[in-house]
């Protein structure tokens, strides 16, 4: 079903490598000695029971948390910590578990906010709004409209996102991340709280983004069916420790994974 993926993608160039990363809050270990990589063009799932450290891992990747130990290499550059602004500048975009939109702003403005780093013209040019600055504003707007068309949210463009139903909010949030034209897109439970139809739509968007734009995607998801369908490789965490890493079918058959999901938490 997915032309550009498969074994050749899994063997592709490493975009992001996480080596032996640990993060603790006080005495609570959120992530302990986790290593894994994300390869260019793949869809990488991160799964695990609640409190496994999945979101912490995303927060480390995009600079919200600074790990106490370990190293992260993104696009060949190693670093121990980076700020969210630098992560965004480097091409990492993300969505959030509980939808973090700018609630008072319209869908269009939210997605335009995603273009912040793409704006080149300085303050003075924007002020007079002629010539190059106007051309830029028009160009940015055009890109945003493309994303809106792609996500099929034309009908809510001018509505304040705080008023939208949850499923559409999630879609706008994806749009904002896409507006950044990221090299690496981090999705934190993109389908949480959605009904079946919304989930199917979201799945399609994720696959399309990956196929059409070649965007590398790392996603956290609880719906196993979705994970198995979407992802090239799956990383499994439990209590902050990596317990399995491999293709969906391999992971599904892994004893430790089954224990983590069935034996210990239930």
């Amino acid at each position: 079903m997915r032309a550009p993926s498969g074994p050749d993608v899994v063997a592709g160039e490493v975009l992001l490598a996480v080596e032996n990363v640990s993060l603790a809050f006080g005495g609570v270990k959120a992530v302990s000695g986790v290593s894994f990589d994300i390869r260019k063009g793949e869809i990488r799932a991160i799964i695990g029971p609640n409190g496994a450290g999945k979101t912490s891992l995303l927060n480390i990747i995009n600079g919200f948390y600074h790990p106490q130990r370990g190293r992260i290499t993104f696009k060949g550059k190693a670093r121990s910590a980076m700020r969210p602004y630098e992560a965004a500048l480097g091409g990492i975009a993300r969505t959030f578990q509980n939808v973090a939109l700018f609630k008072g702003m319209t869908a269009i403005d939210n997605i335009m906010a995603g273009r912040t780093l793409k704006m080149r013209r300085g303050f003075f040019w924007q002020l007079i709004r002629i010539g190059p600055a106007l051309a830029e504003e028009v160009e940015q707007r055009r890109r945003v409209e493309e994303i809106i068309d792609f996500l099929k949210i034309q009908h809510v463009r001018k509505i304040q996102v705080g008023k939208l139903p949850y499923g559409l909010q999630k879609r706008v949030e994806l749009g904002r991340a896409l507006a950044m034209e990221p090299d690496l897109l981090l999705l934190d439970e993109p389908m949480a709280g959605m009904n079946l139809e919304e989930k199917e739509d979201m799945c399609r968007f994720i696959l399309d983004v990956n196929a059409h734009y070649g965007t590398t995607i790392a996603l956290i998801e609880h719906d196993m069916g979705v994970v198995m369908d979407l992802s090239d490789r799956v990383l499994v965490l439990d209590h902050g420790i990596k317990i399995a890493d491999g293709k969906p079918a391999e992971v599904q058959a892994d004893r430790a994974v089954i224990d983590a999901y069935l034996g210990l938490t239930h």
């Binding site: 959030f96 973090a100 950044m180």
Partner: protein
């Protein structure tokens, strides 16, 4: 009768401009971080003290330039020492932090600059101007200091409105106010934005402090005019720059007119001792607004999907 009332109205509007200037400082920071900055009044005091004491040793222009630098340095310090550590905390936590900053600044300012009453001599003409002498007997009296303050305020408002609303900075500000983490995730440099708005509201505080200082002398009570800015904010809406201006004008003019027009009626009707309306009028007006239109005249509609 019309002459004195007009005179009161003009005087009230001029005072209102000064209220607006203080309220403006609040609005800038609220727009950019969703934080209600309780320290705005203390910043007015601190800025006025700096300017008043510096101008004792040097020309006014130099004292002003140095005070500007001090307020910018203060913005850096507040961002680095306080705000940066509180990213993504609840609004109430940030509010408590500004409470701490307020008391620190009041005390610290007096430790450095002294706690007497200092004069600010801006060299402004102090002789009252009379206008429309042909229309009203004796003409209308206008205080030139207030007139100049009003003009300066108008210019500042214009500059700020353009700076924050015409450019994409406006969008970034609203984004930051809505959600720190999300704003950071799209590459909005939170720390830089905070320094910009705190520095901007520091400058507004400096101008407000200079004007109030020229009117009343620089003293501790300057930090209390921040309390007069509260009803202005409620009237205008916490997020609106034009709202701060209009709110300031309404409160300024309203309380003076109430004193002149309403007080005699109240005294006559209820046989009261009278007076003091000016002290509570603004707050009662604000209370009524809270009941009728909690987002203020120009504030954003409060939306919440439950």
């Amino acid at each position: 009768m019309l002459g004195p009332v007009l005179e009161t109205l003009i005087g009230g509007l001029m005072t209102g401009v000064l209220y607006a200037l203080v309220a403006l400082g609040f609005v800038l920071i609220f727009k950019a971080s969703g934080v209600f900055n309780f320290a705005q009044g203390a910043m007015v005091l601190f800025a006025a003290l700096s300017f008043a004491r510096l101008s004792e040793f040097m020309p006014l222009v130099l004292a002003f330039a140095l005070s500007v630098l001090i307020m910018i340095a203060l913005a850096y310090a507040i961002e680095f020492l306080v705000l940066r550590r509180l990213v993504n905390q609840e609004g109430i936590i940030l509010f408590m932090a500004t409470l701490g900053i307020a008391y620190f600044l009041e005390g610290f300012g007096q430790s450095i600059w002294g706690s007497d009453i200092y004069k600010i001599g801006l060299g402004l003409p102090t002789n009252p101007i009379f206008i429309l002498e042909s229309v009203f007997p004796g003409g209308l009296l206008i205080d030139p200091v207030e007139l100049i303050a009003a003009s300066i305020c108008a210019v500042m408002v214009l500059v700020l409105a353009v700076f924050f609303q015409v450019t994409r900075i406006g969008r970034a500000l609203r984004a930051v106010a809505d959600d720190h983490q999300a704003a950071q995730s799209v590459g909005i440099p939170l720390n830089r934005i905070w320094i910009i708005v705190w520095a901007a509201s520091g400058l507004v505080a400096l101008v407000a402090g200079m004007m109030w200082g020229a009117k009343l002398g620089v003293q501790f009570s300057l930090s209390l005019i921040a309390l007069k800015a509260l009803p202005v904010l409620i009237l205008g809406g916490l997020t609106s720059i034009p709202g701060a201006i209009v709110g300031g004008l309404i409160i300024g003019a309203g309380e003076k007119l109430a004193e002149v027009l309403l007080a005699p009626i109240l005294i006559r009707t209820f046989d009261l001792a009278g007076g003091g309306i000016e002290n509570w009028f603004a707050y009662v007006l604000a209370l009524i607004f809270l009941l009728v239109r909690p987002q203020g005249l120009f504030g954003e509609r409060i939306i919440e999907r439950v």
